[in-house]
């Protein structure tokens, strides 16, 4: 039995279908990143799991409990918000204590003045204080507990928000872009910290982000969402190397994957510029397809070598690699090639070259965007079509 | 759960509706009574629709006893003049305080903060003595002059200008504009939200003000709407509530209509200038 299962969740606002039936299973202790462009429904899905919004249909089960009809407070989930959502009038310590106070104190005991006079609450409060201190110490924010959010830096607030989420030992951990308000340096550092914390807590985690690099680097599995549908849920390597959908391939990876629109010829072969490619298995003749290949699986050779003739338009030197922007001579499509600096020696803008793809890395997608599995590899790049 | 939800909402809507009814009752009775004849007012005050329509008669009386046109005109002139003076004087000052360096800025800030504390009621005695000895009572000057300076306007614009980027002004200077040119062509066009908010605040405050007009004006020719209504009440010896309600309706209408038409701006303006009530 999985630790969290989301079954066929839908949500619409009027004619606007935000979620078109999302299903997803997470194992115990698994870290799943929900990634996609803004407006794809990932945050809505997270808020539905949290109980902050209701789904139109579908089911959410966690740890054997059906959460679908429970309010947020009863679900024992923790959430870290993009804005951190710390209570500005409470100190860091008081912020961390809120979930415990809500759970362990009665509503009478929580009243401002009267509450502190009721019997029995002192021990509970002491216990809460102890847990807060422990949590603050383990996140190395014990020196901040008496400060209010307004007096803390972004990174410190983020840690307080994490502490508030973790202190009550939730059954499920939800994070809504928790790093997007940090500056670039801090963000990379915080990625490692969150993964670390997650490993220690061992709680299934849903992590929403629009940053594909964040998703790939942190998650056990990545769920790529586009306009309300879950396109692929798989390990980061699979998402990158073996995307199930053209949109997934385009969304993941920097620079963006090279794509060339084409059509299957009458004999089942594919013409790519001056090349004809013979797929491994048959494609329906006449159907529209997209051929895609990542920039690192292209190389540049001298003019005259078998390959795709092109002109270099522009070079970007990035230190450990060089990005070469080219334009194919035959069909005018842009091709981006990623090279090691040593391979880029002697390349200048305007130079005519030949681009050589690694044949087994070419991917073909159908008109609906789905990957055409049948032809994972092209047998070879065939001979130059007379041109 | 859904049960308590609907019950809660029912209670909420009932409370809101009852409250709204109480708050609107005076307007309902004002409109109803303005159309009733003397005898009906005395016999059945609870029926809302007049059995016989006396609207024409009552409005004729209201227009006959006091020159309503003059009152409304005075209100427009006085509020308009006050607003123009306040803005023309406050904006350059607020700009200088927000964006220019000069020695008196701190003193000026202290004066503004002090000024925020002092309402017209506190300065009216010496001002009255002064206007009296200058023989300026019963004039537009007396009605407008004390309000030509609004420290609140300076305060509001100051906050607004401080939030404007310095680079905007530096760029204007490099383009060769004079400081006055900057105020007119860069600051003012960008300050419209603050200016409209202040306009609403200022007009509401001075259209409604009774205290100062009551002190400096005894001649009906210069009466503002609230003062005029007071005169009308004095002239109306008996309980001719029909005519009185008609007059009330006429005098209340302009500002209420303005509010209903530009509700969003009104609310924004009140929110922005909420400070000094």
């Amino acid at each position: 039995m999985s630790a969290l299962s989301i079954k066929n969740v839908t949500k619409s606002f009027g004619e606007n279908h935000i979620l078109k039936g999302i299903s997803l299973e997470a194992e115990a202790g698994e870290f799943i990143a929900l990634v996609g462009p803004s407006g794809c429904g990932k945050s809505t899905l997270l808020r539905i799991v949290a109980g902050l919004e209701g789904a139109d249909s579908g089911e959410i089960v966690a740890g054997g409990r059906d959460l679908t009809r429970l309010v947020a407070a009863e679900r024992n989930v923790a959430m870290v918000f993009q804005s951190y959502a710390l209570y500005p009038h409470l100190t860091a310590g008081q912020n961390i204590a809120v979930p415990l106070a809500m759970r362990n104190l009665t509503s009478m005991q929580r009243l401002p003045v009267i509450g502190s006079m009721l019997p029995g609450q002192r021990e509970i409060r002491k216990d809460i204080m102890r847990q807060v201190t422990d949590m603050a110490r383990s996140l190395k924010i014990d020196h901040l507990v008496d400060r209010k959010p307004g007096q803390m830096s972004g990174g410190q607030r983020q840690r307080v928000a994490l502490a508030r989420a973790m202190v009550r030992q939730p059954g499920l951990f939800l994070m809504d872009e928790p790093l997007s308000n940090l500056d670039a340096n801090l963000r990379v550092h915080a990625r490692g910290e969150i993964v670390d914390l997650h490993r220690r807590a061992g709680v299934p985690t849903l992590y929403v982000t629009h940053d594909q690099a964040e998703a790939l680097s942190m998650a056990d599995r990545v769920a790529v969402m586009m306009s309300g549908s879950l396109l692929q849920l798989a390990a980061p390597e699979v998402i990158y190397d073996d995307p199930a959908h053209i949109e997934v391939a385009k969304f993941v990876g920097q620079p963006r994957i090279n794509t060339i629109a084409s059509r299957v010829d009458a004999d089942g072969a594919v013409t790519l510029g001056t090349w004809r490619l013979q797929p491994h298995e048959t494609l329906a003749p006449g159907s529209d397809i997209t051929v895609a290949i990542r920039s690192e699986f292209l190389s540049i050779a001298d003019m005259g070598t078998p390959g795709l003739p092109a002109h270099i338009e522009r070079l970007e030197f990035l230190g450990s690699e060089v990005i070469v922007y080219t334009k194919l001579d035959a069909i005018g499509e842009s091709m981006v090639v990623k090279l090691a600096p040593s391979e880029a020696k002697g390349l200048v803008a305007g130079k005519p070259v030949t681009i050589v793809p690694q044949g087994e890395r070419l991917m073909v997608f159908g008109a609906d965007g789905a990957r055409l599995r049948a032809d994972l590899t092209f047998t070879t790049l065939l001979e130059r079509a007379h041109g | 759960m859904t049960q308590t939800f609907t019950l809660g909402r029912a209670i909420r809507l009932t409370l809101l509706s009852l409250g709204a009814l109480i708050f609107l009752a005076p307007y309902i009775f004002m409109i109803s009574t303005a159309g009733k004849g003397q005898s009906e007012i005395f016999t059945s005050s609870l029926s809302l629709i007049p059995t016989q329509f006396f609207y024409l008669e009552n409005f004729a009386k209201a227009f006959g006893r006091v020159s309503m046109g003059t009152l409304l005109w005075n209100g427009v002139v006085v509020c308009g003049l006050i607003f123009v003076f306040q803005v023309v004087i406050a904006i350059p000052c607020a700009y200088a305080m927000a964006k220019l360096k000069f020695g008196a800025a701190r003193l000026l800030m202290a004066l503004v903060m002090l000024g925020l504390l002092v309402p017209i009621h506190a300065t009216s005695l010496p001002l009255y003595v002064a206007f009296d000895s200058a023989a300026l009572l019963n004039s537009y000057t007396a009605l407008v002059a004390p309000f030509s300076i609004s420290v609140f306007a300076i305060f509001l614009f100051l906050q607004f200008f401080r939030a404007m980027p310095d680079d905007l002004i530096h760029a204007a200077r490099l383009d060769g504009m004079s400081e006055l040119g900057i105020v007119m062509r860069v600051i003012v066009p960008n300050a419209w939200p603050a200016i409209t908010a202040f306009a609403i605040f200022s007009v509401v405050a001075h259209w409604n003000d009774l205290y100062w007009p009551l002190i400096v004006v005894s001649n009906q020719a210069y009466a503002t709407p609230p003062l005029g209504l007071l005169f009308f009440r004095a002239a109306e010896a008996g309980d001719d509530y029909g005519a009185l309600m008609a007059a009330t309706l006429i005098i209340t209408l302009p500002l209420v209509a303005a509010f209903l038409l530009a509700q969003k701006r009104f609310v924004e303006g009140i929110t922005m200038t909420g400070l000094k009530g």
């Binding site: 209570y87 | 005076p26 004390p146 309600m245 005098i251 509010f259 009140i270």
Partner: protein, 310 residues
């Protein structure tokens, strides 16, 4: 050597250039601020000084001479039964109108905020009195509260209750005026509270729900009330100051009567200063009025500094 002097010369010259541009900026600033400054001195500073000075004289309008009488006016003030009554009435009026209009304003704002239907209608309805001419609406209230022909008493009679003489009897007049005062100011406070409520980040409510604040009452105490802190301090100050400045309704409806039962501070000052023309004496009263305002503003600054610091 010759080169070096040639280089150092412009450097020395450049210092006064900076000063010239700073002086120019200061001069322009002075010119822009001068009209405002002169008018502030003319219409605010000078009159305040004059009122304080006049408070120590026996100046009366119409007499050409006056003399300084020290604290005589103040001594008379605190023996003056009208003035004491007036202070007391103002205090009662404020003690009713300020809390009632704040609580009702908050209540209405909360109800409207949590309701989806008819929001703008309700907002308009409650705000209308703020946009209406108070003198005019006071006249309408006078009719509504008329002891014999007024709809309010007719309504009470209908359900068998005797209607009081709202504005005409010393026992009820202050409460009736307070009621009108509350009616007039609730909308204003409501708008400010609504603005305060909209400014609360939605995420805080989500966080509170996740943290276990199940009921809306829990969330009110955890999020809404603390987050409205600054607005509340602010609304309180305005409400108190406006209540202390009550004048229009008293002047229009009761002239302080019956039997001084609705005599309030500004009305007393108005009577003494502009009807009896005892300027010196009225000035002393004005100083007391001003002192009350200063104390209340000061209390607000302190409260804001202490409590509402995030």
């Amino acid at each position: 050597m010759a080169d070096m002097t040639a280089i150092s010369l412009p450097v020395e010259k450049s210092r006064p250039i900076v000063n010239v541009s700073e002086r120019h900026e200061a001069r322009v600033a002075w010119m822009l601020a001068a009209p405002a400054m002169i008018l502030i001195i003319l219409f605010i500073v000078a009159p305040v000084i004059a009122v304080i000075t006049l408070g120590f004289t026996d100046f009366e309008l119409g007499y050409s001479t006056f003399k300084f009488v020290g604290f005589e006016n103040y001594a008379e003030l605190f023996g003056d039964r009208t003035f004491r009554q007036s202070l007391w009435n103002t205090a009662i009026y404020t003690a009713i109108v300020a809390p009632a209009s704040i609580l009702l304003g908050l209540g209405v704002a909360l109800l409207i905020e949590s309701e989806t239907v008819g929001r703008s209608f309700f907002r308009t309805a409650y705000f209308l009195p703020v946009a209406s001419l108070l003198v005019a609406m006071a006249t309408v209230w006078q009719y509504l509260l008329h002891p014999t022909i007024g709809p309010v008493n007719n309504l009470l009679n209908l359900i068998g209750l005797p209607g009081p003489n709202w504005l005409g009897s010393a026992g009820t007049v202050l409460y009736s005026l307070s009621m009108i005062g509350v009616w007039q100011t609730v909308g204003f406070n409501m708008i400010l509270f609504l603005a305060g409520l909209t400014a609360i980040p939605r995420d805080l409510y989500s966080a509170a729900e996740i943290d276990g604040a199940k009921s809306s009452i829990d969330r009110f105490f955890l999020v809404t009330l603390p987050m409205l802190g600054p607005t509340t301090v602010f609304v309180t100050t305005i409400s108190v100051i406006n209540a202390v400045k009550v004048f229009e309704t008293v002047k229009t409806l009761t002239e302080g009567g019956p039997n001084k039962a609705s005599e309030v501070l500004l009305f007393t000052i108005y009577q003494e200063g502009f009807v009896y023309l005892r300027v010196g004496y009225a000035s002393a009263m004005t100083v007391v009025f001003l002192a009350v305002l200063v104390v209340m503003m000061f209390a607000q600054y302190r409260l804001v500094d202490r409590k509402v610091h995030y």
